[in-house]
Amino acid sequence: MEEKKMALKINDLDNVATIFANHITSGTEVEVRDKAGHSMTFRVIGDIPYGHKFALQPIAKGEPIIKYGEEIGIASRDIKKGEYVHVHNLDSMRGRGDLEKR
């Protein structure tokens, strides 16, 4: 049997979902479930490892990325719907000694 390509959206406000499946390559169709049991299918952009995230909607550069219904960082560039979201396009806003005035 083929492994189910499953991802979870934790909070209704979230604009990313987390994949819990192996071997997700660009173009794979992934089923996103939420807590209420609803599901929707997305085609992902980029190879996405187990436990990593993708965007559920377009996120413009500078907009917050939301998981658990809370901000987990800011888009450091425009992100397409379905695109892999990680440190390459998400900037943390905390513990940023590099952004402090010297």
């Binding site: 979870l8 934790i10 987390t18 819990f20 192996n22 490892p49 187990y50 436990g51 990593h52 995230k53 990325i65 998981k67 658990y68 809370e70 901000e71 987990i72 960082g73 979201v85 990680h86 440190v87 998400l90 900037d91 943390s92 806003m93 905390r94 513990g95 940023r96 000694g97 590099d98 402090e100 010297r102």
Partner: protein
């Protein structure tokens, strides 16, 4: 509800009955270890502090070592002092003697060096372990439980599975009148507003913001992006993109009950009940020491990527949220919370499994970590420089 523990003179109940060999300074470690290696029933704390530090840190180290000796899992204490250290070994001896537990102290310099100190210390430790070895476990109400909690080597499964399980258990223990302590102040960054909302009053909420601000200020003082320090490369490889994401998953393990207050790193629980914060960093050697000093009889430790570390006198129950990791590291993981991710079990089902394991561990059952004694890398968290 009850568990079986060793009753201590202060009214607490231990899950273990160890004689603790406590070096008052890192320079006494080798003597302390030689004694512990030779004498059955002992544990040793190989820390790296206690001299050439700023006075507030010396006080912090002294108080932490005293709190470790007060742990209900410790029945007797041998302090191993070099003789010229910065910690207050005489105060350690006095305060630990006042607990009513048998306490001895040796000074390496006074005894004429290492080999004689090992000989004298070994004979004293033998007397101590024999003196407490006949003590029997007695029934204790569950409200005497002090549970510490932590997540380490986290990935994105931690916040969705293993930390949810610990949150379930934390709520259950708080409702039964027990004490639950969580820490890892660095992993409040981005989630501190959610914790502050659960504080019992404004003072506690303010204190939560204060410790988070102090931790973030220390990190920022280096002038770089904190990423790779926190989250770690392993966290990032596991899908955690920022400290905010890591924190929001980490605080899930504190459950949902009100936060009663904030303990300082060396503090030992006396009458505190309910859910408390202890101000600690996230790294294993320092937080495990801080939690054992709290007086926790055990720790529930959530992991995604597979953190095997434990602590000499505090059993650590490993709860693994990642089903792939559990399969690879089953020998080091006590509970498979990965079954929540695969949809085979609910949070409540795994939570009850953990709760049953807790009662058994309190009564003497070993954790996987204890069975392989993987717990020598410990340390005391200090704030100032080594000078």
């Amino acid at each position: 509800m009850e568990f079986y523990g060793y009753k201590r003179p202060d009214g607490s109940y231990g899950a273990r009955n160890y004689t603790a060999i406590i070096p008052s300074v890192t320079c006494a470690n080798d003597v302390a270890c030689a004694i512990a290696h030779q004498v059955q029933g002992t544990v040793v704390y190989q820390h790296h502090q206690g001299c050439s530090q700023m006075p507030p840190d010396l006080e912090r180290v002294t108080n932490t070592l005293i709190s470790l000796g007060k742990s209900p899992n410790v029945g007797a204490i041998l302090i191993v002092s070099l003789g010229c250290e910065g910690t207050d070994h005489e105060r350690m001896y006095q305060e630990l003697s006042a607990t009513g537990k048998p306490v001895e102290i040796i000074h390496i310099q006074e005894l004429g060096g290492v080999s004689n100190a090992i000989r004298v210390g070994t004979d004293l430790a033998r007397k101590l372990v024999i003196a407490i070895s006949g003590q029997q476990r007695v029934p204790a109400d569950i409200s005497h439980v002090i549970m510490s909690i932590k997540c380490g080597a986290s990935d994105t499964t931690s916040g969705m599975a293993s930390n949810c399980v610990i949150g379930y258990v934390a709520d259950k223990l708080v409702d039964l009148g027990a004490t639950v302590i969580f820490g890892e102040t660095t992993e409040f960054l981005g989630g501190e507003h959610l914790l502050a909302k659960r504080a019992v009053n404004k003072q506690v909420a303010d204190k939560i913001y204060e410790i988070v601000n102090a931790m973030e200020t220390r990190a920022k003082s280096v002038g770089v992006d904190m990423r790779r320090g926190q989250p770690t490369p392993g966290n990032i490889a596991g899908g955690l993109s920022s400290i905010e994401e890591k924190s929001l998953g980490a605080i899930v393990k504190s459950g949902t009950r009100p936060i009663q207050g904030v303990l300082d790193y060396p503090d030992h629980v006396t009458t505190q009940k309910g859910l408390w914060i202890k101000d600690t960093p996230g790294r294993e050697p320092e937080i495990l020491t801080g939690m054992a000093a709290t007086g926790a009889q055990f720790m529930c430790f959530s992991t995604g990527r597979g953190a095997p570390q434990g602590f000499p006198s505090m059993p650590v129950i490993k709860i693994c949220g990642n089903p792939n990791t559990y399969e690879k590291m089953e020998n080091d993981m006590d509970i498979n919370a990965g079954l929540i991710i695969t949809g085979e079990k609910t949070i409540e089902e795994v939570g009850e499994e953990v709760f049953a394991k807790i009662i058994r561990v309190l009564g003497g059952e070993m954790t996987k970590n204890e069975s392989i004694q993987y717990f020598s890398a410990i340390d005391i968290h200090c704030l100032g420089p080594v000078i």
